[in-house]
Subunit: 235 residues, 4 copies
């Protein structure tokens, strides 16, 4: 069946979110892109994880229009659509309200880079896009959430290839990646980094930012030209 | 058998509380209303969750009088009875001592609205009814706990339809809903919001309250006239 | 077989400690008394929980002398022995290094009574016996730990019937009860109260102590002359 | 098959790390030494725990050269190699990014000895080796991480036999032991001590260091000449 592959990928990704305790109740959603057809599969809105199946995933085009499926797509669908449209290289998007990352988003603060766990994945603080303006919120809210993310990444001069996670102030984290599996992985890592950072500040308020040499070393050994981490996994 | 339906609902709800780690030992109780007959089914007092069965649920009328069942009903039965009596629209009530929500109750403070996870469910801080007076405590304590809740909701001008959770200072949370399933869901959400809020304050003492536009937007997209969250779930 | 009953009780209790996540590695020990014969069954020292069986429980008299069993009894055996000897009414003792209760013991502070979860079980702060003197530590350490507990309870004028849990400063909690099952329950409750109290202080430093009327009401409804909590459980 | 024993030991140890929730995703690695042949078995780099098997463990000599195996060894292999080379008595090494211990490493602080849980295992604060110099980082990084550990232990005058765990500032914990099973145990204990210490400080900032008499007593009863903890386990 057409779109079977992305339906399966999106299904597996959504289930992995629950398995990893990144979602409560029906919160959270993952989508997988079929870049050849310019469509993606996404979780239906408000359905408990235990009731999901690959067939229930909704197919939507990158303008956010439903193409196939019986159910309403996630209410956050337009945010996913904008990220796929603006960042051609990505193949998956994940949104959760995972506890610690969401607490940082509620505090409206970027997550400082304190250790190599963080530097293994990105070389900058996990960014926090500011609260949207009243106009953006009152208009096409989810669509504008996508642009809030895209524009803040651009304003910070961050590439979506090198920084694969962001917080939206007052809301929660969004992550992405070459595949939806990688986006799920990034959600897990974002939550773990968020938890370690809260604890670090509790142990030592005003803990120092990680040394730049360590940041570069850890990022390069996993992602640089001469990377030597892993087997032949995606780098 | 008469009352089978509410016995089953109450049983499922009580078991769901334990499954979701919202209760320790024999703490916590859930009840389900049969509004046609003006009675509700509630957990027996002090029985471990693993020993419960639908048959053990006790049937009580909304004055709190036992109608059917071999065991003593929960010691909090009169609190449930008052809420059913005073708020005709609700169909289920849940009481837990879940860790984070109870910590806020012990701190005798409302839980500030810091993010959209909160705003998805209510537009105000999760209220905290003050410690009861000596007279109320020494009289019919559980009955007066019900009235403490009802009167504080009225004093704050909150409707039981729009605000489905409250803390009682020095004690713990109570939640309710159109069904007991929804009340259980509200207990889970209350605990998660409570945890996120503690963490938010740890990251940033005096973190700002969530922007009003975001509060309205998130609540309206789930509960407003033009709500577009979910499929055809209760809104 | 002689002592089968207390061996089984002690075994079940030790396994329940691990099941409830109250112990890490081989930490923690539970014992059950046979008051007719003046002996108790206790966990062997340093054996992982998954390798335990009822037969491995060691039988010791209340002077702390091994009566039966192939293995060495827990290194904390003399502490248990002292409590049984000095407090004739108790039938079980439990010692854990559960995380939150141990943190309070390490902070060398009693756990303030902040809520009804606490008041349901005792009407005073969970006491913290001071660090033992150099002489006590250098002598028969575990034996003196028992006396440190007994003497501090006496100095505070607490009865072992009404206060069934204590912290030993710099060390960890000890609990007891009419049965070892009740002592395990008390360990679980002590840990939960300890966690709620840390969180309460984080939310509101110098949070107020629970109102005396609430303390009395909650304790009396579970343990007083006219108690109405539970069915016919031990009160 | 040659090296079967250490492959099995390393496999079991790596799986035990995941079982104990000490690792997220592919983080963490355990290795087991064959001291007769001067080689050790270590986890392959970047492979998820669920895909591991004894056969996939990589055999490396203590200079860090791969001897046998199809996959790339852990990127931290040279750190393990240095510890085996410099400390002839050890038989296993473990590295994790466990949450609480890593937070202390990120805070760049030693973990103060606050209680007997800590003193049961070592008599000093869990040391934290300082952030490495730019030169060390830019050179053979993992190799120099090993020397950073060895040299800091020497500078503090700590023996690898008595202190079996360390934090590397900005990075995470490393542990070791006579066997890899003991090294895994030490990782678990290090994490638990780290968590208790954060909580102790939250309850009481500037909590007092544990009394020296208690430190000595607890360490000696487990590890001293007249140790009386356990059966005939390794002391």
């Amino acid at each position: 069946m057409k779109f079977d592959s992305i339906r399966n990928q999106a299904y597996e990704a959504n289930m992995a979110l629950e398995e990893a305790d990144l979602v409560v109740a029906t919160f959270g959603n993952a989508s997988a892109l079929d870049s050849d057809h310019g469509v993606f599969a996404i979780k239906p809105s408000g359905v408990p994880y235990r009731d999901l199946s690959p067939e229930l995933m909704v197919i939507v085009d990158i303008e956010g229009k439903k193409i196939d499926g019986d159910m309403n797509p996630s209410s956050d669908t337009l945010t996913h659509a904008v990220l796929y449209k603006e960042w051609p290289g990505i193949g998956g998007v994940v949104h959760t309200h995972s506890t610690y990352a969401t607490a940082w988003a509620q505090a409206q603060m970027a997550i400082p880079i304190y250790g190599t766990t963080h530097a293994d994945h990105l070389t900058v603080d996990i960014p926090c896009a500011p609260v949207m303006t009243a106009e953006m919120i009152k208009g096409q809210y989810e669509y504008m959430t996508g642009y809030q993310i895209v524009e803040y990444m651009a304003a910070m001069n961050y590439s979506a290839r090198e920084v694969e996670m962001i917080l939206v102030a007052g809301h929660a984290p969004f992550t992405w990646g070459k595949t939806v599996k990688k986006a799920v992985y990034n959600s897990l890592i974002c939550e773990e980094i968020a938890k370690m950072a809260v604890l670090t500040q509790q142990i030592r308020p005003n803990a120092p930012r990680l040394d730049n040499n360590l940041i570069d070393k850890h990022y390069q050994r996993k992602h640089g030209a001469g990377a030597y981490y892993g087997q032949d996994m995606e780098k």
